[in-house]
């Protein structure tokens, strides 16, 4: 017996409503338990995903296929981890504890819908459902000026990027007369055969799409919002932003460009390749002098997106598969690093890298895990990040994108310096007598998931690679 394709989203949506309702009846000090309820909802949704029929709905506006399955798992996993680390984090809030979880779940529902969207209006609405809860969440630490700034900045720039995207959508609609991705593809193909090379209107709409998604992915030069928002937002939200919302932008990008615009691949691919190169170079170089771990990870995630695009611009089955695979590898390593940062911040109230000094003496296990997460982000074998980068670079080299891979490997070497900077603080400095970092249940759980992920994806990547290759079969190349 299979449920209809959209059932997991419907279920999670209803569950989220339930959270809001239950929140209303709970006493203030019990509200943190809503976190566990949310985790349960996510687990059930994951199970439901495997019991829902793959296929199309709403006249091909919605499609549940292997690509959306892969990314839905990524979203649910990152929401699970983000909520799991938030359980003790929200205890610091004076009010609105329940809503915190609810909003994360709403955003997750948006991401899930987005990964299945094959119609531009559907896609746009899903994207708004992803980001609007995140605007609120970024500003959640209201009395904190930085958080308020983060929320406002994120909302203003998010709104602008949405507007740009809408403009692109309207241009495409004007040119092709449809908003369905498949319809656009057919129409563009006909145009291509009749008219020939790309016209200015279409080119402009490509640019708008790239800019719109570029904002969501925080690619250079659309990255300016990211460091401030990442620093100001509550850290679990930063973690969620850096993985979940980026993966959402990525899957939307893949859908639109690989399905609809594939006729004009050569026209947009160079632009994206240049953005990838810029993101890797600028992201990594600006990450070097950062002293705050959240800002450092913000810039590093800009660079990481650049690496992911290296696989994307290969425009091949291997390329898309490597993009999906790396997203997973990145999820575990990046969230893992954030979880450590959250645990540290919960106890010490600091997210300055210099305060990590001597952490290996007081909390050896936590430091060791942090070291593995950071090394995975660098791409040191045998961790997940290495296999991921290997796969991305393989896809690019197969398509002779040597210049891009050379930039990617050289910037990886640069990235080593700032990632290892944290390790150096933790291990080299002799400061004794630091207090042991206490790990609440939620954080412990998240750490265990992340470390298992980093090791499993690194050492026995085969099942994940198969899943990613399945996802890549959705497109024709």
């Amino acid at each position: 017996m299979y449920f209809i394709s959209i059932f997991p989203e419907i279920f999670l949506f209803l569950w989220t409503i339930l959270i809001f309702v239950v929140d209303f009846f709970l006493k203030e000090d019990k509200r943190k338990n809503l976190g566990y309820l949310s985790l349960l909802g996510i687990l059930i949704t994951i199970i439901l995903l495997f019991f829902s029929a793959q296929g199309e709905m709403f006249g091909k506006a919605y499609s549940y296929d292997s690509l959306s399955l892969f990314f839905k798992l990524v979203f649910l996993l990152s929401a699970f981890l983000a909520i799991s680390v938030s359980i003790d984090f929200v205890a610091k809030f004076r009010a609105f504890k329940g809503e915190f979880f609810g909003l994360i779940l709403f955003s997750t529902v948006g991401m899930m819908l987005l990964s299945s969207a094959r119609e531009l209006i559907f896609l746009y609405v899903s994207l708004e459902l992803v980001t609007i809860p995140l605007y609120v969440l970024a500003a959640y630490l209201k009395p904190d000026k930085k958080s308020a700034e983060a929320g406002l900045k994120y909302m203003l720039l998010g709104a602008i990027s949405s507007a740009i995207l809408l403009y692109g959508i309207s241009l495409i609609y004007g040119i092709t007369g449809t908003t369905f991705l498949l319809g656009i593809k057919t129409r563009l193909m006909v145009d291509y055969l009749q008219i020939g090379p790309i016209g200015p209107g279409l080119f402009l709409s490509f640019i708008f799409f790239i800019a719109g998604f570029g904002f969501k992915l925080a690619l250079v030069p659309f990255h300016m919002w990211a460091p401030d928002v990442y620093e100001g937002a509550p850290t679990p939200i930063t973690a969620f932003l850096s993985v979940g919302s980026k993966a959402a932008g990525l899957v939307a990008f893949l859908r639109v460009f690989f399905e609809s615009f594939s006729v004009y691949n050569p026209d947009w691919v160079t632009i994206v390749a240049v953005l990838a190169a810029l993101s890797m170079i600028i992201g990594n170089i600006i990450a070097l002098p950062q002293t705050n771990i959240k800002r450092m990870l913000a810039y590093s995630s800009i660079a990481q997106m650049g690496y992911i695009l290296v696989g994307l611009v290969a425009i091949s089955e291997r390329g898309v598969s490597s993009v999906a695979f790396y997203t997973l590898a990145y999820l575990f390593a990046n969230l893992g690093a954030f979880v450590v940062a959250i645990a540290f911040e919960l106890q010490t109230g600091s997210s300055e890298i210099k305060d990590y000094s001597g952490l290996s003496r007081s909390s050896p296990t936590l430091s060791f895990l942090m070291m593995l997460f950071l090394l995975s982000l660098v791409g040191i074998p045998p961790l997940a990040g290495f296999v991921g980068k290997y796969y991305l670079f393989a896809a690019a080299i197969e398509k002779h994108l040597i210049w891009l891979v050379v930039i990617a490997v050289l910037t990886s070497v640069i990235s080593l310096y700032y990632y290892v900077g944290v390790i150096k603080e933790m291990y080299f400095n002799k400061k004794e007598g630091g207090e042991k970092i206490f790990l609440p249940f939620g954080i412990k759980l998240a750490l265990i998931i992340c470390i298992i992920g980093v090791l499993l994806v690194g050492l026995f990547p085969n099942p994940f690679l198969d899943l990613a290759s399945q996802a890549a079969l959705v497109f024709k190349y």
């Binding site: 290996s360 090394l375 040191i380 074998p381 045998p382 290495f386 296999v387 290997y390 796969y391 670079f393 393989a394 080299i397 197969e398 040597i402 891979v405 050379v406 490997v409 050289l410 990886s412 070497v413 080593l416 310096y417 290892v420 150096k424 291990y427 080299f428 026995f460 990547p461 085969n462 690679l465 198969d466 290759s469």
Partner: protein, 489 residues
């Protein structure tokens, strides 16, 4: 061969890591002995390897092959031939001796030995891996423990030296990664199997070979290190704790030449011929420049470090000649330099532990005070400067014999290196051990039994290979003949 001996050699040290981590921080003695035990077992296994190696053939032996990541074409593929067996033995030996030499580490003991054993895992793996993916993993895995070992237990500029080492080697190896991928996509069918790639090598276009050779060369040249990529070496060697310097000089540098012999020559035969002369010139610079820099050193450890630059130059010269004798000389030099320089670093450590200085000029007339130490040190210095009867002489002689027919002028100039080497070692011996006794060192104690234990096996081997080199020569001959044949046809 049903007994997976190579896997055991690689992963028994890994079990040692687990054992060390399980022990409590305070059980210092237990941690030390556990590490010694878990590095001793691979040594025992390596004797087994030596005993069962069939030197009449150049095919891979002790092969283990299992599928690992079929989606990426990666297999778990290990094997050993005449090139890797001596290196595996040397790795096992030096690792064990270094663990013993590290018994005097009193600071963060548990972490130290865990990292040290991880280092051994990586080194063993590099010499046994025959799948490029696996090879790269082991190649990189070593960087992390090395970074910590230098950075935590090193000398005054340890943090700088550690990150410099890490960045330099990573810089080299990422280009190797690109090279690996380029080879993968050029091969038909796509493969990461190094043996398969070697058999396909003649099909590769010359232009492709010339480019990809350089990608691999960067990785290997930084490891060796070949001038001008050598600047990480003096920092890392000088700042590293004694045992780590031993491993650095004894094993890590050999990975560069091992890579050249295992990968660069057989996989890019046309490029190897094309680049032979530039390589020989770089070797000459290494030999003479390295030796001249040694002349100027006041720090004993720095002098030994730079002597590695000079000595590895002979290896490169032997390789660039592309003759069986030259390449054999290279492997002899790899082996012999591992023994001699390993011992020299151990001995420098012994003195530094007591005197807390390595300034050559600060000593004088030590012979009278610590005769045993002086005797051993002088013996190894003689080995290093190429005294006949010791292994260093054999290897240098073979390198010169093998490369003279090819590069007459370069070899003639390279012989200068031998003279300079003799000069700086004799100058050092004279300043430190001869002359009037500096009474400041009245309290200096003789080398201890444990310390002596770490260098005696090396001395025996050095003399053994020097006097009776044919067992080693027999072992490597078939393999190296095959490699040279692949290049020169």
């Amino acid at each position: 061969m049903s007994f997976p001996i190579l896997s055991y050699m690689i992963f028994i040290p890994f079990l040692g890591i687990i054992a060390v981590l399980v022990l409590r921080k305070e059980q210092v003695q237990a941690i030390r002995w556990a590490s010694a035990l878990f590095s001793f077992i691979p040594l025992v296994l390596s004797f087994f390897l030596l005993a069962h190696y069939d030197s009449s053939t150049s095919t891979m032996q002790f092969v283990e092959k299992h599928t690992w990541i079929p989606s990426l074409g990666v297999t778990y593929f290990l094997g050993a031939d005449g090139l890797s067996v001596p290196m595996l033995f040397l790795t096992a030996l030096l690792s064990f001796l270094s663990v013993i030499a590290s018994f005097n580490i009193n600071f963060r003991v548990k972490e130290y030995f865990a990292f040290f054993l991880l280092l051994e895992v990586g080194m063993m793996g590099v010499f046994a891996a025959l799948d490029f993916f696996l090879f790269y993993i082991f190649w990189e895995v070593m960087l992390v423990p090395m970074y910590f070992l230098i950075g935590i237990w090193g000398g005054p500029r340890k943090e700088y030296a550690a990150i410099k080492f890490f960045l330099y080697t990573l810089f080299g190896s990422v280009f190797m990664l690109i090279g690996i991928l380029a080879l993968y996509f050029t091969s038909q069918p796509h493969t990461l199997n190094m043996m398969e790639l070697i058999s396909q090598a003649p099909l590769l276009a010359k232009g492709f070979q010339l480019i990809v050779f350089v990608a691999f060369f960067l990785a290997f040249a930084i490891k060796v290190p070949i001038f001008p990529f050598h600047t990480w070496l003096p920092d890392a060697h000088v700042e590293a704790p004694t045992a780590v310097s031993v491993i650095l000089a004894g094993i890590l540098l050999k990975m560069g030449t091992y890579g050249l012999l295992r990968v660069s020559l057989p996989m890019f035969p046309k490029a190897a011929l094309y680049y032979a002369l530039p390589l020989a010139l770089l070797a000459l610079i290494n030999i003479v420049y390295g030796a001249l820099v040694c002349m100027a050193q006041k720090d004993l450890k720095k002098m030994v470090a730079y002597s590695s630059v000079s000595h590895m130059g002979y290896c490169i010269l032997g390789i660039s000649a592309l003759t069986v004798t030259g390449v054999s000389g290279c492997v002899f030099q790899m082996f012999s330099h591992g023994l001699i320089t390993g011992a020299l670093f151990l001995l420098v450590g012994v003195l530094y532990d007591r005197a807390h200085t390595r300034d050559i000029d600060a000593f004088g007339g030590l012979w009278a005070k610590i005769p045993v130490y002086t005797g051993v040190m002088t013996l190894f210095c003689m080995g290093s400067l190429g005294l006949p009867g010791l292994s260093g002489f054999i290897s240098e002689f073979m390198v010169f014999i093998g490369s003279f027919p090819v590069f007459k002028v370069i070899v003639a100039l390279a012989v200068l290196g031998v003279v300079i080497t003799a000069a700086y070692f004799l100058r050092m011996i004279q300043k430190m051990f001869l002359g009037t006794f500096n009474t400041k060192w009245e309290a200096l104690t003789e080398i201890s039994g444990r310390e002596l234990f770490t260098v005696i096996p090396l001395a025996i081997l050095m003399i053994g290979v020097g006097v009776y080199p044919s067992p080693l020569a027999d072992m490597i001959r078939a393999t190296l003949e095959n490699i040279v044949h692949l290049v020169t046809g």
